[in-house]
């Protein structure tokens, strides 16, 4: 019956850590793929307002951003400014910008384009309305008032 007797002095075998790098690599690749580096430097200060009913924006590829707020650098003035891409812009530039963004989208997604308005909560509605009017002219009708939950 010696066949079933345990080996004497059974030390706990060392855990095989050979696959540990593989696991870590898998995590690494996951984060590498999901990481999106910030594309634009925000030149205006945007303190997002709170809205309990805010919904997540699902497809990022459909979204175009327009920022409105006071310049982050006070040397550039204290009035409300619009930021498009990496530069300050005027109300008159909005329509052209939206058009060029839309032109770079695939054909079947053009009608689903969403413009996300990232607006500082202290902004006045005058400028916001002007921007909205420009968006209507550019026929970019789906908008999203960016806000935190």
């Amino acid at each position: 019956m010696g066949r079933f007797t345990k080996k004497a002095g059974n030390a706990v075998p060392a855990l095989n850590t050979a696959s540990l790098p593989d696991i870590i690599f898998m995590l690494l690749f996951f984060f590498m793929v999901t990481t999106t580096f910030k594309k634009t430097d925000v030149l205006v200060q945007v303190r997002q307002p709170k809205a309990s009913e805010a919904e997540k924006l699902e497809k990022k590829s459909l979204v175009t951003y327009i920022y409105i707020g006071t310049p982050a650098d006070p040397a550039l003035g204290t009035g409300q400014r619009i930021q498009i891409n990496d530069a300050f812009a005027d109300v008159a530039d909005v329509a052209a910008f939206v058009e060029s963004e839309r032109a770079s989208m695939p054909e079947q997604e053009k009608s689903k384009m969403i413009t996300s308005l990232k607006i500082d909560k202290a902004s006045h509605m005058g400028l916001v309305t002007d921007v909205k009017q420009e968006l209507r002219k550019a026929n970019a009708l789906n908008i999203n008032y960016s806000s935190k939950k």
């Binding site: 870590i24 999901t34 307002p49 308005l117 202290a122 006045h124 916001v128 209507r136 009708l141 908008i143």
Partner: protein, 212 residues
């Protein structure tokens, strides 16, 4: 004597991978953008006569440049809007001072006369899913000043969204047993959108507080 094959020590591989992992963890900006979705009305084609809307169908909200609210002619608060709008749109007691209702089938006939066939089809689907639901004709009319703060404007919009979400949830629970946001079937979502359409009309802002 056989030479021993030298083996690369892979013990530190995990450490290197960890280092990279932590770098990407730190730089990963998984900022999810969230917000209130709205659809702007298209620019009117040429000079379009404004549509006549009966007084009982309009819920009027005015915000002045001091962020004060005037709701249907009386001073109001943001917190009160939600309840008032729910009551206004649902009009459970068929109050003659509150909006009238139009059956989905009646609306379908009207759209068919105007030749909007995509709309007719959507309404037909809604009828199949929900039955002939009486759609409220209520419209929320929102007007602000150029000096109104964006924060206030958004708070009002948030309350309006909350009111409509409440109404849609209610209908969704009655028919499908789940909240509106949890509906997965596209047909169900569209049916509810047709039964409780979000009618928010925004007028050109006033400019009482001086140009901004």
């Amino acid at each position: 004597m056989a030479r021993l094959k030298p083996e690369i020590n892979a013990g530190s591989m995990a450490d290197i991978a960890f280092l990279l992992l932590i770098f990407f963890l730190v730089t990963a900006t998984m900022d999810v953008d969230s917000g209130l979705k709205r659809r702007l009305p298209p620019l009117p084609a040429k000079e379009q006569a404004p549509t006549e809307v009966s007084r009982r169908n309009v819920f009027e909200i005015l915000i002045n440049s001091h962020d004060e609210l005037l709701i249907n002619g009386t001073h109001g608060t943001v917190e009160a809007i939600r309840k008032q709008v729910i009551d206004f749109i649902s009009n459970p007691a068929e109050d003659p001072a509150k909006p009238e209702k139009e059956l989905l089938s009646v609306r379908k006939t009207r759209e068919a006369e105007q030749g909007n066939f995509a709309e007719v089809e959507a309404l037909q689907q809604a009828i199949e899913v929900l039955g002939d639901y009486p759609v409220s004709q209520g419209i929320i009319s929102l007007q602000n000043d150029r000096g109104t703060s964006y924060d206030m404007y958004l708070r009002v919009h948030n309350e309006l969204t909350a009111a409509y979400t409440h109404l849609r949830d209610d209908l969704s629970r009655r028919h499908f047993g789940v909240a509106y946001a949890r509906l997965r079937d596209k047909r169900h979502i569209q049916a509810i959108d047709k039964a409780i359409p979000m009618n928010i009309s925004e007028a050109e802002p006033l400019n009482v507080g001086g140009a901004r």
